[in-house]
C-alpha cells in the first residue's frame, strides 16, 4: 500500500516538475490544473496522469497571496492544505505536541505558521473581483461562537472557492478540518483523513503511516466523528477558558470547529455512492452538534445532486466566473512592469476570453505570448507609449491567431520555441502554419515493430467495415479483373459515402480478435514482400523464420496495447460470443506510427474506402478472396477470419 503510494507520488512529482517549469517563469502563480495535449489526446494513460497531477494539487489552490507563493513549489500545495489546519490552531492545544513531534516532512510548515493572520482588507485585495463572495461567506459563517447551517459553495473551476474559503478561515483564526474528495478518493480515506485531522494524528514512520482510527463504514465514521468532535470542542473550550484567565484574546479561536469537504461532486462517481453524499448532506442533522459547522465545496451546482428521496439542501453560495475586468486585475497582480503588461492584456485578453474564462488556462496561454510580446523591447522597465504599443501589437498579432488555436496544448517544447526552431528550418512558410507545427515529431513510441503493426492493423480494422478487408488486402487487389459491372449510380454512391462518414463520426468500430490477426497477417506479408523485393538475397527459409518471430508473441503485444489503452476490450458480441476490441488511436497517431514503419497507410486512408468499396467489392473475383482466405486459414487454423467470408457474401 505504502509502496504503491510512493510510486504514485514519485510519478506525480515528475509530472509536476514539468508543470512547474511551465509556470515558474511568470508570476501569476496560477497552477495549470489540467493540461491536455491535443496531439496525444486519446492516450488515455497520459490523460490519466494529468488527472493525477490534479489530485496532487488536490486542494485546487490556485491563487495564493504572495507571501505564501514565494516558498511554494507545486509539491507544497498539498502540504499547504494539511498544514492549514495545524496552523489555525497551532496556538491551541496542539502547541506542545508540535514541539515534541519531530515531523520530518514539515520543512515548509514554518513559513505558514509564522504568518500573521490576514486582516479583511488584505484578504479582499488578494482576491480581486471576489468581494461579494467573501463578504457573503463572512456573514454566513458569522461572529464568534455562533452556530451555522451547512453551506454549499459552488462555481466553475478556478473561481477561487477553496482558496478563498481557506483564507477566510485564516483570517478568522478558527479551527477547521479540510478534506478534499479528490485526494481522499474513497469513503474510507475520506473518513480517516477527517478523523486524523480532528485527532491531531499525523501519519508518519513511527506509526507506519496508519490512520488514527480504522473506519470503513459510515456508521463507524459517525460514531468516531462524534467522539472526536466532542473531545476537540471540549479542548477548545478549555483553552478558551484558560486563555481568558491569562490574557484577553482579542479574536480567539472560539469553540466552533468547521468541517470542510472539497470537491464533493466527485463522490457521485464513487462506487455505491448513494449513501455517502446524502450522509454528508445530512451530517448536520445526524450529529446534532451546534458547535460544528459544515461547508461543502463543489464544482457543480446543487441541482446536480439528485437522489431518490431528496435531501435537506445546504445554503448555496455561488462563485461566478471572473469577468473581464476581474481577469485584468488578477493578471496585473505581481507584474513588474504594470504598464507594459496592461497594454499586452488589452491586445490578448479579449480574443482569448471568447474561448475560455478560466484564469488558470488563460495564464498558461499568456505566458509564452508575453515573452513574444516583449521580444522587440530591450529595456523591460519601459513604459510604452502609443507608437510603441502599436509596434508591439503589430509584432504580436500574427501569433495571436495561432496561439488561439492551441490554447490548451501542452508540448514538451513550448510553442514559441517550436516556432523559433521551425522559423529557422523554413523561413518562407507563413507564420500561421508554424503555430500548428508538429511539436511531437520527436515523440517516439517505444513499441516493438510487431506491436506497431498490430496497432495499425487494429486501426484499420476499427475504421473499416469487415466487408472491406478483402478489397484492401487482397494481393491481386482485384485491379486486374477487367470485367467491370455497371457503374453504380451517383446517388447511391453519395449515399454510401455519407453512411461511411457517419460511421466514422460515431467512433471506431469493434472487431473480433480473428479479424485483427488476419489483418495483421496481411500487413506483415505485404511488408515482407516489399522487403524481399529489395533484398533478393534473403533466403526463403530465413524469411519464414522471421515471420514466425514476428507472430510468436503477438497476443502478448496485444495485451500490452490493451493495457496502454491503445486498444480497448469491449463487451463480447452476442452472436459470436468472443471478446471484441476497439482501437482508440487517432488517425494522426496511426499515420505517425505508419510513417515510422514506412508503411503506406495513407494510401489506405479512410477517405478512399468509399471509393474502394464501389470499385472493388462489386467485382473482385471470389477466387482471389478465397485465396486470401485460405492463406490465412493455413496460418491460423480453424475458426478464424469470418470477415473475409462475409465479404464473399457481399456481391
Amino acid at each position: 500500500m505504502i509502496w504503491k503510494d510512493l510510486g504514485r507520488l514519485s510519478r506525480m512529482i515528475i509530472h509536476l516538475r514539468r508543470l512547474s517549469t511551465l509556470r515558474a517563469v511568470n508570476s501569476q502563480r496560477i497552477a495549470p490544473r489540467e493540461l491536455p495535449s491535443s496531439e496525444m489526446y486519446h492516450f488515455f494513460w497520459i490523460r490519466r496522469e494529468t488527472k493525477v497531477s490534479d489530485s496532487l494539487l488536490g486542494a485546487e489552490n490556485f491563487f495564493f497571496p504572495e507571501e505564501m507563493v514565494d516558498e511554494e513549489t507545486p509539491q507544497v500545495t498539498k502540504r499547504m492544505t494539511r498544514s492549514c489546519f495545524s496552523t489555525t490552531h497551532s496556538n491551541s492545544s496542539t502547541e506542545t505536541r508540535k514541539k515534541s513531534d519531530p515531523r520530518p516532512l514539515s520543512t515548509t510548515d514554518d513559513s505558514v505558521i509564522g504568518e500573521e493572520p490576514t486582516n479583511l482588507d488584505t484578504l479582499l485585495s488578494c482576491f480581486p473581483g471576489r468581494r461579494l463572495q467573501i463578504v457573503e461567506l463572512l456573514h454566513l459563517i458569522g461572529p464568534l461562537n455562533c452556530p451555522m447551517l451547512p453551506l454549499f459553495l459552488y462555481g466553475g473551476a478556478s473561481t477561487g472557492k477553496t482558496s478563498i474559503l481557506l483564507q477566510v478561515f485564516r483570517h478568522l483564526k478558527r479551527p477547521f478540518v479540510y478534506s478534499s474528495c479528490r485526494t481522499c478518493y474513497n469513503p474510507r480515506i475520506l473518513f480517516e483523513s477527517t478523523l486524523n485531522q480532528l485527532l491531531l494524528h499525523r501519519r508518519n514512520m513511527e506509526n507506519s503511516y496508519s490512520s488514527a482510527k480504522r473506519c470503513e463504514r459510515p456508521a463507524d465514521f459517525v460514531n468516531f466523528l462524534r467522539e472526536a468532535l466532542t473531545d476537540f470542542i471540549n479542548n477548545l473550550k478549555g483553552y478558551v477558558r484558560k486563555s481568558n484567565l491569562k490574557e484577553s484574546v482579542e479574536q480567539g479561536d472560539g469553540r466552533m470547529v468547521y468541517l470542510i469537504f472539497d470537491s464533493v461532486e466527485l463522490i457521485r462517481g464513487w462506487d455505491k455512492n448513494s449513501g455517502i453524499i446524502s450522509l454528508l448532506f445530512k451530517l448536520h442533522d445526524i450529529l446534532k452538534m451546534p458547535d460544528v459547522g459544515l461547508i461543502f465545496i463543489s464544482n457543480t451546482s446543487p441541482d446536480t445532486y439528485y437522489s431518490n428521496t431528496g435531501y435537506v439542501e445546504p445554503i448555496p453560495v455561488h462563485f461566478p466566473d471572473y469577468k473581464e475586468d476581474d481577469l485584468i486585475q488578477i493578471f496585473m497582480r505581481n507584474q513588474k512592469n504594470q504598464k507594459l503588461y496592461s497594454s499586452f492584456l488589452e491586445t490578448v485578453l479579449r480574443p482569448f476570453s471568447r474561448i475560455t474564462k478560466q484564469a488558470d488556462e488563460l495564464s498558461t496561454a499568456f505566458q509564452p505570448l508575453f515573452e513574444k510580446y516583449c521580444e522587440p523591447i530591450s529595456d523591460m522597465g519601459i513604459a510604452p507609449n502609443d507608437d510603441m504599443k502599436r509596434m508591439l501589437f503589430g509584432h504580436l498579432r500574427p501569433h495571436i491567431a495561432s496561439a488561439l488555436n492551441e490554447v490548451f496544448k501542452v508540448s514538451s517544447v513550448s510553442s514559441v520555441k517550436v516556432e523559433a526552431i521551425e522559423d529557422k528550418a523554413r523561413r518562407k512558410d507563413s507564420i500561421m502554419k508554424l503555430g500548428t507545427g508538429d511539436a511531437s515529431n520527436e515523440l517516439d513510441l517505444h513499441l516493438s515493430i510487431s506491436a506497431k503493426y498490430l496497432l495499425i492493423s487494429a486501426f484499420l480494422a476499427s475504421r473499416n467495415r469487415a466487408t472491406l478487408d478483402a478489397s484492401l488486402f487482397d494481393s491481386t487487389g482485384g485491379s486486374d479483373s477487367r470485367k467491370r459491372r455497371r457503374k453504380s449510380s451517383g446517388t447511391t454512391m453519395e449515399h454510401k459515402e455519407n453512411a461511411e462518414k457517419e460511421m466514422l463520426m460515431k467512433g471506431p468500430g469493434t472487431f473480433p480478435l480473428e479479424r485483427l490477426l488476419a489483418v495483421f497477417q496481411c500487413l506483415i506479408s505485404v511488408d515482407e514482400s516489399s522487403v524481399e523485393e529489395e533484398q533478393q538475397a534473403a533466403s526463403q527459409l530465413e524469411s519464414e523464420d522471421r515471420e514466425m518471430r514476428l507472430m510468436s508473441d503477438v497476443l502478448l503485444q496485444l495485451s500490452t496495447l490493451c493495457n496502454a489503452n491503445f486498444i480497448s476490450k469491449g463487451g463480447s458480441c452476442p452472436l459470436e460470443g468472443s471478446t471484441r476490441y476497439r482501437c482508440n488511436v487517432s488517425e494522426e497517431m496511426a499515420m505517425k506510427v505508419a510513417r515510422r514503419l514506412k508503411f503506406p497507410l495513407s494510401k489506405l486512408s479512410a477517405a478512399k474506402f468509399a471509393e474502394l468499396l464501389m470499385v472493388y467489392v462489386f467485382h473482385t473475383g471470389s477466387d482471389s478472396i478465397l485465396i486470401f482466405h485460405v492463406d490465412v486459414f493455413q496460418t491460423w487454423g480453424g475458426g478464424i477470419s469470418r470477415s473475409p467470408c462475409a465479404s464473399i457474401s457481399a456481391p
Binding site: 454566513l140 461572529p143 464544482n299 428521496t309 435537506v312 448555496p316 471568447r354 460515431k506 467512433g507 471506431p508
Partner: protein, 419 residues
C-alpha cells in the same frame, strides 16, 4: 464575553434559535390536534401501560418529523426518566442488517453500562437484543427504537425490521418502533411477514400553513425584553421587526418563497440567511435583508452557468440545440463539430477555432454539467465519440443567451429561429 455589542449578541441569539429546531417547535406544540400531542399521547400510553407499539412518521423532507420526535422524547425522558431508553438508527448508516444489529447492541450497552464487544457476531448481537428486550420488559422499561430514513431499512431482506417487529409480538418485551420516512408509501415497501406485524399507525406531517409561519416568525425573530439586552434596543428592534412583518413587500417575499417550497426547513434556511445579512452597525433587520436572502436561496444554477460560459461554449450549446431540433437521435462531439462548421460556413463567423480548442470547451461544459454523456458505457472510448445530450430546456438556453453579456448576435438569431 462582555465586549460584544448588543447587535452582535442579538445576531448570535437569533442564529442559535434558528439552528435549534426544538426551540422553534416548542412554542407551537400545545394545541391538542398537533402531531406533537398525538405522538406524545401514543408514546406515553405505551410506556405507562407497558405495551408494544409501532408507528410511522411520514411527510416530506424538512417538515419537522425528527424535531417533533426529539421534542417528545426529551419530554418523556423528563417525565419517566428511568422507564425509557432510546435507540437511534439511521437508514443512511445502518441499512445493512449486521451493522444495524451491532449499533443496537452498542447503544444498549452504552445505555445500561455494559461492556460492548466489537467482535461479537451479528448472531450474538441479535440474541443480545432479544435478551435485553426481555430483561427490559421484566423491569418495565420501554425501549424506543427510532429508525430514521425508514425506507432504506426496507431494502433487501428486511431481517432487522422483521426481528424487531417480531419481538414486539411477544408478551415479555416492551418496546416501541418508530419509523421516520419521507416516502409516503413507506409501509407499502414492507414484506408481507413484516407488514402483518406492523401496527399501521401513521402520523402525517405536512408543511406548515402561512398563518403558522407568520406567528413563528414573530416569535423567532423578536428579542426578549428582559435584562439580557438593553431595554431600549430590544424595544426598538421589536418595533422595527413588526413593521417589516406587516409590510406588503414582505408578504410577497414570503409568498414567493413558499410557492417554491413551503417546508419548514426551507423557511428556516431563508430566515437564517436573512439574519446573517443583518447590519451589525445599526443592529436592526431590514426588508433588504429578506430580499437578498430570497435571492441567495432561490438560485437558478443553470442560468448562472450559462451566464458564465465563454462565447465558444455558447456556440457548442447552440449547435447541440440545433442537432436536437433536427431530431438526431444520438450525436457526439464530432457531429457537433460538423454542425459548428456548417454555422461557420453559412454565416462566416469570426469565432472559428481548432478542434482541440473546441474539445476543451466541450469538456468545460461537461464539467459544468450543462451537457452530459448519454450513458455510462464506453468509458474507455475517447471523448469525441461518446454520445452526449443537452441538459437544458430551450427556454433556459434562450434565457441564458439573453443574459450572457458577450453572446454574439448570430447565436441569438439562430436560437430565435429554432424556438
Amino acid at each position: 464575553m462582555g465586549g460584544e455589542s448588543p447587535a452582535e449578541k442579538a445576531l448570535v441569539l437569533l442564529r442559535s434559535r434558528l439552528c435549534n429546531h426544538s426551540y422553534i417547535l416548542k412554542h407551537f406544540s400545545d394545541s391538542s390536534d398537533s402531531n406533537y400531542s398525538k405522538l406524545k399521547f401514543t408514546l406515553s400510553n405505551s410506556i405507562t401501560e407497558a405495551c408494544n407499539n409501532s408507528i410511522l412518521l411520514l411527510g416530506p423532507r424538512g417538515c419537522g418529523k425528527n424535531a417533533v420526535l426529539d421534542l417528545v422524547l426529551s419530554d418523556l425522558q423528563v417525565e419517566h426518566s428511568d422507564l425509557i431508553s432510546v435507540i437511534r438508527l439511521n437508514g443512511l448508516l445502518h441499512s445493512d442488517d449486521n451493522c444495524a444489529l451491532k449499533e443496537i447492541a452498542r447503544q444498549l450497552c452504552m445505555e445500561h453500562q455494559l461492556l460492548f464487544s466489537k467482535m461479537a457476531s451479528s448472531d450474538d448481537n441479535s440474541h443480545f437484543m432479544i435478551a435485553m428486550l426481555r430483561e427490559c420488559g421484566l423491569a418495565h422499561k420501554t425501549i424506543i427504537f427510532v429508525l430514521d430514513e425508514f425506507d432504506l431499512f426496507a431494502q433487501g431482506k428486511q431481517r432487522l425490521l422483521y426481528s424487531l417487529l417480531d419481538a414486539l409480538q411477544s408478551v415479555t418485551s416492551q418496546a416501541v418502533v418508530i419509523g421516520i420516512s419521507c416516502r409516503l408509501d413507506a409501509d407499502q415497501l414492507l414484506e408481507k411477514r413484516v407488514r402483518s406485524r406492523f401496527s399501521h399507525r401513521k402520523l402525517l406531517f405536512l408543511p406548515p400553513s402561512k398563518e403558522y409561519l407568520h406567528r413563528l416568525m414573530g416569535n423567532i425573530l423578536s428579542l426578549p425584553t428582559d435584562s439580557s439586552f438593553p431595554y431600549e434596543y430590544a424595544i426598538a428592534y421589536n418595533a422595527k421587526l413588526q413593521n417589516i412583518l406587516g409590510d406588503q413587500i414582505f408578504t410577497e417575499i414570503i409568498n414567493k418563497l413558499s410557492n417554491a417550497d413551503s417546508s419548514l426547513d426551507h423557511f428556516l434556511r431563508f430566515l437564517f440567511c436573512a439574519v446573517c445579512y443583518m447590519d451589525l452597525d445599526s443592529g436592526f433587520l431590514s426588508i433588504e435583508n429578506f430580499k437578498t436572502a430570497l435571492l441567495s436561496i432561490q438560485r437558478q444554477p443553470k442560468l448562472e452557468s450559462i451566464k458564465d460560459c465563454s462565447v465558444l461554449e455558447l456556440y457548442i450549446l447552440v449547435c447541440m440545440k440545433r442537432l436536437e431540433v433536427k431530431e438526431q437521435n444520438s450525436y457526439n462531439f464530432n457531429s457537433i463539430m460538423k454542425e459548428y462548421k456548417v454555422i461557420h460556413d453559412s454565416f462566416k463567423t469570426s469565432d472559428f477555432y481548432a478542434q482541440n480548442v473546441c474539445l476543451r470547451a466541450f469538456e468545460h461544459l461537461i464539467q459544468h454539467e450543462l451537457i452530459s454523456y448519454m450513458d455510462n458505457r464506453g468509458q474507455n472510448q475517447s471523448v469525441e465519440f461518446r454520445p452526449v445530450k443537452l441538459l437544458l430546456s430551450s427556454h433556459e438556453l434562450y434565457q441564458g443567451l439573453k443574459s450572457n453579456g458577450s453572446c454574439p448576435a448570430i447565436l441569438q438569431k439562430l436560437i430565435d429561429r429554432e424556438i
